[in-house]
């Protein structure tokens, strides 16, 4: 025998609905995967795509330490072209748009790197 079964079952149903709210609220509404704009006519980056996708931030940190602290400024050569070990003077030579390259993923992943507080993006200066 269960006392107040009506109230309890109603309460349980409401509880289950509320706890699963995020799931059914977002059904079918999944965000589109980010589509980054790739440089035209360039096939290779300083590292392979998978590495760049997962570890570009570590690479940039290493570059900064090497350049600023150790003075190791040797150029990165990709497809026979020399690039500076630099975000704004290196990477952004090919990836010319912060909005279409950096922000595309960063917004999707809800990360807010502070690169552009100091570094200067190519076109859209803020």
């Amino acid at each position: 025998m269960m006392y107040d079964s009506g109230k309890i079952i109603t309460g349980l149903v409401i509880f289950v609905i509320m706890i699963t709210f995020p799931i059914w609220y977002n059904v079918g509404g999944a965000e589109q995967l980010p589509k980054v704009e790739k440089p035209v006519g360039k096939k290779e980056c300083v590292q392979d795509t998978q590495f760049m996708r997962t570890s570009h931030m570590a690479l940039l940190n290493n570059w900064r330490d090497e350049v600023v602290r150790s003075g190791e400024r040797q150029y990165q050569v990709v497809e026979g072209v020399k690039y500076e070990k630099s975000l704004q003077n290196g990477c952004m030579n090919c990836h010319t748009s912060k909005a279409k390259f950096c922000d595309e993923c960063h917004t999707y992943a809800a990360v807010k790197p502070y690169c552009w507080d100091c570094h200067v993006q190519p076109k859209e200066i803020n």
């Binding site: 900064r64 330490d65 600023v68 602290r69 150790s70 003075g71 400024r73 704004q88 003077n89 502070y114 507080d117 100091c118 570094h119 200067v120 190519p122 200066i125 803020n126």
Partner: protein, 282 residues
Amino acid sequence: MDVKRRKFLKIAGISAIAGIGAPTAFSTLLKGEVNASSGGGHGEATEKSDAHAEEKVVGKQYGLVINTKKFGQIAGLAEKCTAACHAEHNVPDYGNPKDEIKWIWTESYNHAFQGKSDHKKNDALKNLPILVTCNHCANPPCVKACPTKATFKNKDGIVMMDYHRCIGCRFCMAACPYGARSFNWKNPRETYANGEMKFYPNGINKEFPTRMRGVVEKCNLCAKRIADGKLPSCVEACGDTKGIIFGDINDPNSEISQVLKNTFTIQRNPTTGTRPSVFYII
């Protein structure tokens, strides 16, 4: 039982004495000198405490010789140097002396050289613009004061900053006896409603980053330009006037070393023991 214990204690005691004494005995035998181990340390201590000893030369040390005579003769040359540097390095102009950011600027003789007076001196000296900047000290107090190692001495002897690491504590500013460090009280990238930049009326150099609010900044002796084989921008701005001479003061064959060898120069505030690398011909 008793005998065994007595015997054990004797052996233990002798072994202990031998154990304590052995290293000393060995070192005495090996070095052939009783004071060998303490002698080196003592010698080093006296060397350090002797303030009049010749300064030790270690590695590169880039420095400047600033010929103030040239800056007295050529009107506007000092301002040209400042403008070139500040444009190159995106030094913001906050339009307010309290917030001012200075990498290289001018001072009067008695302000630049502490302890020197312009009282009863010639008029030329009183009006002489003394170009001052970070002294890239061989013994930089700012580097010691920095709790995050954001500022450090690089292999070329340049006192560099990694702005990523600066937490804005301003210990370095308190430590620097030359006022060569400035703090960003405001965001240098602040804009007007129309998107125009407030503190960069002439736009920014897109090859160089700006800073953000809450970091200290200073002259970096154009580390990047030097790496690219160029002269620092203040030196370049002087053109052929030889107003500023740049080079490695530790290399006896460099032009700057020759100038230092043959000309009487002074440094700013040398009594603080910072060993500044910027020299002045007055």
